[in-house]
């Protein structure tokens, strides 16, 4: 069961690496900010942070300073990715709305404060060992970082529901409408994963590795996310045909 769970997480890392690199290549051609933000978020959160964090857990058996350094580097990279995701949600979905700018600033500040709290309190090490937490910083940090994918997922689902209506009168392509839904699912799954992590920390104090059910839940979410991300960026011919030929809803009179 643990092997299957690890496989799910690995699949998610590979999907993030491949799609993130391709979005970065897309940015190289378009030079548009949203592509850069999305590439940074996908690569940092989905691949680099995981890779560094896991390396710290698996490879470093020695002094806690070294493990702490690995964890800090991984967590800092993850924070950069989440800040990029927050900026993406603001610039892409709500560029003209003042409240969205305020929300983006607040979330960025919360992520930074949480990271500082985790480092100063020493609770940072609880990500790489099995000792239960002894303060609020870890769940607070997880919640602050989890807010980034949560916001983007909500925006994707809202846009999807609008585009479904536009599709009825030919103002949106079915493939693009579906892509918005898939990105919503791909980003919504990690958001749920963060919720599971926060709940687990609050109940048991330890990381998800302490319980197979928790690890399996997050692994399942990671697998769904990887499949959605891959389908969104590399839609197979048969899938595209199915989307284009599927009868759309009739316009309301």
């Amino acid at each position: 069961m643990i092997a299957i769970s690890v496989a799910g997480l690995l699949l998610s890392m590979v999907a993030s690496l491949v799609v993130g690199s391709r979005v970065l290549a897309l940015w190289w051609r378009t030079r548009k900010l949203p592509e850069l933000l999305l590439a940074v978020a996908t690569l940092c959160v989905g691949f680099i942070a995981y890779a560094v964090g896991t390396a710290g857990k698996i490879l470093v058996e020695g002094p806690s300073e070294l493990r702490g350094s690995f964890t800090l580097i991984g967590l800092s990279i993850e924070c950069i990715g989440h800040v990029a995701l927050v900026a993406f949600s603001w610039r892409v979905f709500r560029p003209r709305e003042a409240w969205a700018g305020g929300l983006a600033g607040s979330l960025t500040a919360l992520i930074a404060v949480a990271l500082a709290g985790e480092v100063v309190s020493g609770e940072l090490l609880r990500y790489s060992d099995m000792i239960p937490i002894s303060g609020p910083w870890v769940p607070f940090g997880l919640a602050a970082r989890g807010a980034a994918p949560t916001w983007m997922a909500i925006e994707c689902f809202q846009l999807y529901s609008k585009l479904r209506l536009r599709q009825r009168i030919g103002l949106a392509e079915p493939l693009v409408v579906n892509r918005v839904l898939l990105w919503g699912v791909a980003i919504g799954c990690p958001a749920l994963g963060f919720a599971v992590s926060v709940a687990h920390r609050l109940i048991y104090g330890t990381g998800l590795r302490a319980h197979v059910w928790a690890l399996s839940t997050v692994s399942l979410l990671a697998t769904v996310s990887a499949v959605a991300l891959s389908l969104a960026f590399f839609p197979p011919k048969a899938y595209r045909r199915w989307l284009e030929e599927r009868p759309g809803p009739a316009p309301r009179a």
Binding site: R166, E173, F233, P251
Partner: protein, 92 residues
């Protein structure tokens, strides 16, 4: 139908197809007028709804012709671009 009612009708029709009055483009508005507004006006017992829509279309064309279209990159535009070149080429 009063100005307020007319405005409300247009807003409702736009909402029904997921469009925002503050960001609707002339092209989107043309599709809405052509495909939905006539029916919405008829439903509200507006006489000669078809002629009214034709007049609106003419005005819209003029607005479109006089307006320098500065294309704003929307969320839809971004998601349209977010696809592998390989699958995009296979599509075209």
């Amino acid at each position: 139908m009063s100005k307020l009612e007319a405005r409300g009708t247009v807003r409702l029709v736009l909402r029904d197809v997921g469009l925002d009055p503050s960001s609707v483009t002339p092209r989107q508005m043309a599709v809405v007028i052509e495909r939905l507004l006539g029916a919405a006006l008829s439903k509200r017992k507006v006489e000669s709804a078809a002629e009214l829509c034709q007049a609106l279309m003419r005005e819209l064309e003029q607005i479109g012709a006089n307006r320098v279209e500065h294309h704003e990159d929307t969320a839809y535009d971004l998601f349209e671009r977010l696809e592998s070149d390989g699958t995009r080429r296979g599509r075209s």
